[in-house]
């Protein structure tokens, strides 16, 4: 079916229609005698749209595909992502109980404003609601907790597609080509509905579910697993069933052309939580992985810093109250509290502690290191004193190596997959030809790459840098002592360093410019930049985000002094 004959002149299959209704070859302009009536109307791209407007549903199309809605596809994506998380060790509860219910809740709430309804027609509630809950449909929105309390094994996520059939008729105004039934509607800007589903948002869903279940995965880790390919994201449509045909504007929705950014995913998650009217999240207490005291342990280990620093991070956390349950627990919709980014917060605490103990002004830390070195020479027995210089050398070397590897991997990253997508049937052959050529060239030059074979995905690991105390080369600093840089004052151990420099005296208004401060490498000491760079690598975010958190912590820590200073200034003016 369809005019798929090869052109007699140039063997291409690339036909167009002349005004006279004859077929002509676009490649060589050879005009045939075949006219339109002879050909099956499936060839014409508008035919699918005409079918939709007639309200045909669930009818198998002649090309063997089935009708599907964008939401079904996203549901599939979420399912795949959840399964991957489960494979990484996340408890099944997260997927079946929490994520599933979040999604249901979202569907219900968003369907209110989801599609254009001709006036007069009342929206039907989803059959999901009807069959599995006895909650009233609109305008009463069921509460999320109510949903949660219902049986959690209400069918597998995938088979619960029955909501699709009771969806209202799609408006006849669709004239945009898509494989899905409602792809074009999806992309139409509709002010009423703000939270239209996107690919990055699937990660927001995942993170939200992870946070709710207090799983030991931070957002930066989640995104790293995505980038490493352990969680489906790029080319996730490969997992869609054969019959689900993606084309036209579906590509805009499901074809990802960029990696999700921490800020984006995080902010969407907050929006989502508010949109779903979620209540206060389960509490983050000091036994939770996400609590700064716990995360600091992890990051201190990864940064190859002495365990003794943990006492200091705990002290800072306690002093400024960022270990409090109320501070750490997410309350959606509450605009007054600053939302917590657990990973960045913990990293920033460590940076502040390093500044407290070592000053990090490109001078003092090296001095301290020299003293420690002297002591280490003379002190043959007992533990080693921590030498900043040695630590810097060791960690910098590893960091440079890993960063270089990461940069190269990113440069070599393959975005396309074996299942190429094409916008329409028209450019299918072109896309397939291109794909063929790409595969052929990859094979040819791949052979010339020498022994370098594309390595298998590395096993997902929580630690990117690891240091072993068993190494005799002294490259592990976990057990080193901070004695050299501390002194006793009135029974308390304090830092020998009496000074501290603030990253910024005045914080910016985050709501106006998006940041608390504006980090420029040249404005700060190199040691400080190094430390930021280290955590920037571990968390895969820009140093400026960590810098923001450091500023925030510093302002809390030195609040009184700053306040005094301001007060003093105003007194002077008077």
């Amino acid at each position: 079916s369809g005019f798929n004959e090869r052109c007699a002149q140039c063997s291409e299959v690339n036909w167009g229609l002349t005004d006279g209704g004859r077929f002509y070859c676009r490649s060589c302009h050879n005009v045939t005698e075949r006219t339109r009536e002879v050909v099956n109307t499936d060839f014409i791209t508008n035919s699918r749209v005409q079918k939709i407007s007639k309200g045909l549903r669930k009818q198998k199309k002649t090309d063997g595909g089935c009708e599907w809605y964008v939401c079904e596809a996203f549901q599939l994506v979420l399912k795949k992502q959840a399964e991957a998380l489960e494979a990484l060790g996340v408890c099944p509860q997260m997927k079946d109980g929490i994520l599933y219910n979040f999604w249901r809740c979202y569907l219900q709430k968003s369907k209110q404003a989801y599609c254009n309804r001709p006036s007069g027609e009342t929206g039907k509630a989803l059959s999901v609601c009807e069959s599995s809950t006895d909650v009233e449909s609109e305008p009463e929105r069921p509460s999320f907790l109510h949903l949660l309390s219902l049986s959690e094994s209400e069918g597998d996520l995938q088979t619960d597609c029955s909501f699709a059939s009771s969806m209202s008729k799609v408006s006849e105004s669709t004239s945009v080509y898509s494989g899905s039934v409602d792809g074009s509607l999806y992309l139409m800007k509709n002010q009423k509905e703000k939270l239209r589903m996107t690919m990055p948002m699937t990660l927001s869903f995942c993170y939200m579910a992870l946070l709710w279940s207090r799983e030991p995965i931070t957002l930066s880790e989640l995104l790293r697993f995505v980038a490493e390919g352990h969680i489906p994201y790029l080319n996730v449509f490969q997992h869609f069933p054969e019959k689900m045909n993606l084309c036209g504007v579906d590509l805009k929705i499901f074809c990802v052309e960029s990696w999700p950014v921490y800020e984006e995913v995080y902010n969407k998650m907050l929006e989502l939580a508010a949109f779903l009217d979620l209540p206060r999240f389960p509490e983050i207490t000091d036994s939770c992985f996400l609590h700064p005291d716990m995360l600091c342990i992890k990051y201190l280990m990864e940064a190859n810093l002495p365990d003794e620093l943990h006492i200091w991070t705990c002290r800072v956390v306690k002093k400024i109250g960022i270990g409090e349950v109320d501070f750490l627990t997410l309350v959606p919709g509450n605009k007054s509290t600053r939302k917590v980014k657990y990973d960045i917060l913990a990293a920033a605490v460590i940076v502040v502690v390093l500044k407290l103990l070592f000053l990090l002004d490109d001078h003092y830390e090296w001095l301290l290191s020299d003293f420690a070195e002297e002591r280490n020479k003379n002190n043959k027995e007992g533990g080693l004193y921590f030498e900043f210089k040695k630590w810097y050398k060791v960690v910098k070397h590893s960091l440079d190596v890993e960063q270089k590897k990461l940069d190269e991997e990113r440069a070599k990253y393959l975005w396309r997959c074996e299942k190429p997508l094409f916008y329409s049937v028209k450019n299918k052959s072109k896309v397939l030809k291109r794909r063929q050529m790409v595969v052929s060239l990859q094979s040819q030059f791949g052979k010339l790459s020498g022994s370098v074979q594309r390595a298998e995905k590395p096993n997902p690991s929580s630690f990117q840098l690891s240091w072993s105390e068993e190494n005799t080369d002294g490259s592990c600093f976990h057990g080193h002592s901070l004695k050299g840089i501390l002194q006793e004052k009135r029974g308390l151990l304090t830092a020998m360093n009496p000074d501290y420099w603030l990253c910024t005296v005045k914080l910016c208004n985050e709501k106006l410019c998006g940041h608390l401060a504006h980090y420029r490498e040249v404005d700060f000491p190199q040691s400080y930049h190094f430390v930021l760079r280290l955590f920037s690598f571990l968390l895969r975010i820009q140093p400026s985000y960590i810098h923001d958190e450091v500023c925030m912590i510093e302002h809390k820590l030195f609040n009184k002094k700053l306040y005094k200073k301001l007060k003093y200034n105003t007194v002077l003016r008077k």
Partner: protein, 412 residues
């Protein structure tokens, strides 16, 4: 917050490209191939708005890698190029042409010829018309290869001719090659440009078949048509042609005069000076002196004994005749500030004496006349020469001493 660090497809490929570039600059072909493998999927995205799209990048980079990589073969290269031809219709003929160059560089003349013929017969709507320039070049190179065939066939015939064995088919082929070559070569040299090789071949053909007029016409056009860029070779070819055909001294001189104007350091300046020195006309002899002085202004001529002997001969002749000393004076005027250090330093005297006695002899004569018998160069060389008891140096010493007043007159 801004997401300028957001890693997307486009940026990712840009970064990949910079890695390829670095690897290529450091001649790390394996590494370049590794990154190119990742880059090629850029073909699957539409870059139609960029000036240089991925398909052109891949063609050029891939070509470089395949040329230099130790494990790649011509077969692989050809296979790659065939794929590249299908990638960019707008570049089709250019790719064909460059492919042909590579084949020629690798001695695969037959394959090159086949490719040229194929390319010549290519039709693709209006594209062939748009790529008109490349098409002309393709025809021109085919003409060149036809000439090459003709040349081979001619040599075969000449050899066999000596044996008394005439091969009719080879002769027919030869004439056929001539016709094919002539048509295309004639066409390309009409276009203003530098077509040295094509002109030479075409002229060779014409001369063989006795069409001297046409050959002369072609060379004249090539040398004198102002639309063509100034090209010393054009004049050289014309000069050589005129010489071959025993043309008048006058025509030879006018051909070389222009060469002197545009390339005063050309090697033919020796011939030119020799010709001019012998002339009866004063103007010509004057020109000769100018020509040889100008040539020796160039560093590449410093140790050219022949050139120095020309100058020495002429200077000597002028000095002996005691006429036209003002010529020497005029030429020397603008050179007296820098020639002494440039040609006649003590260091050079020593070196010239050690390395090339004839050279030092000629130079010493010139130095002696221009700078007087007390100049460093002359003193050293003549002293060395007399010490070594070489006759001509003794003669030289006497000559310069005798004519020392000349120096004084030149100086004033």
């Amino acid at each position: 917050s801004s997401h300028e660090h957001k890693l997307n497809f486009t940026k990712s490929k840009e970064v990949c490209l910079s890695y390829i570039q670095d690897a290529m600059l450091q001649k790390q072909w394996k590494r370049a191939a590794e990154f190119l493998t990742s880059y090629v999927e850029a073909l699957e995205k539409d870059y139609s708005r960029e000036p240089i799209g991925p398909s052109e990048m891949i063609w050029r980079i891939g070509t470089e890698i395949l040329c230099h990589h130790s494990h790649s073969s011509m077969r692989e290269f050809n296979c790659f190029i065939e794929q590249m031809k299908t990638l960019g219709i707008k570049r089709y003929l250019k790719v064909c042409l460059e492919h042909v160059f590579h084949l020629l560089c690798n001695g695969q003349t037959d394959e090159a010829y086949q490719n040229l013929s194929l390319a010549e017969s290519w039709r693709f709507g209006e594209q062939a018309a748009i790529q008109d320039k490349e098409m002309k070049l393709i025809r021109a190179y085919r003409g060149l290869l036809d000439y090459h065939s003709w040349s081979k066939q001619k040599n075969i015939l000449l050899e066999h001719g000596l044996d008394g064995f005439a091969d009719l088919s080879v002769e027919q082929e030869m004439h056929s090659s001539f016709r094919k070559a002539a048509v295309n070569l004639k066409e390309i040299i009409k276009i203003p440009g530098v077509w040295d090789l094509f002109v030479k071949c075409y002229v060779d053909l014409l001369e063989f078949y006795g069409d001297h007029n046409e050959a002369h016409q072609v060379l004249n056009e090539y040398a004198y048509n102002s639309k063509f860029p100034a090209n010393p070779n054009a004049h050289v070819y014309l000069y050589q042609f005129l010489k071959r055909h025993g043309e008048s001294k006058k025509s030879l001189v006018s051909a070389l005069k222009i060469l002197h104007d545009i390339a005063p350091s050309h090697e033919l300046m020796i011939d030119f000076n020799t010709m001019l020195q012998k002339s009866k006309k004063r103007k010509k002899r004057r020109l000769g002196l100018e020509v040889i002085f100008a040539a020796l202004d160039y560093a590449g001529w410093k140790e050219n004994a022949k050139a120095w002997s020309c100058l020495a001969r002429q200077v000597k002749q002028i000095v002996i005749s005691d006429k036209h000393l003002d010529w020497i004076k005029q030429e020397w005027n603008c050179r007296k500030d820098w020639w002494p250090a440039f040609h006649f330093s003590r260091y050079l005297a020593k070196r010239n004496w050690q390395e090339n006695k004839s050279l030092s002899y000629e130079k010493a004569l010139v130095a002696g006349i221009l700078l007087g018998k007390d100049c460093k160069y002359f003193k050293y060389v003549s002293h060395q020469g007399c010490k070594a008891q070489v006759k001509r140096f003794r003669m030289l010493k006497k000559f310069v001493n005798r004519h020392n007043p000349v120096y004084l007159r030149i100086c004033s």
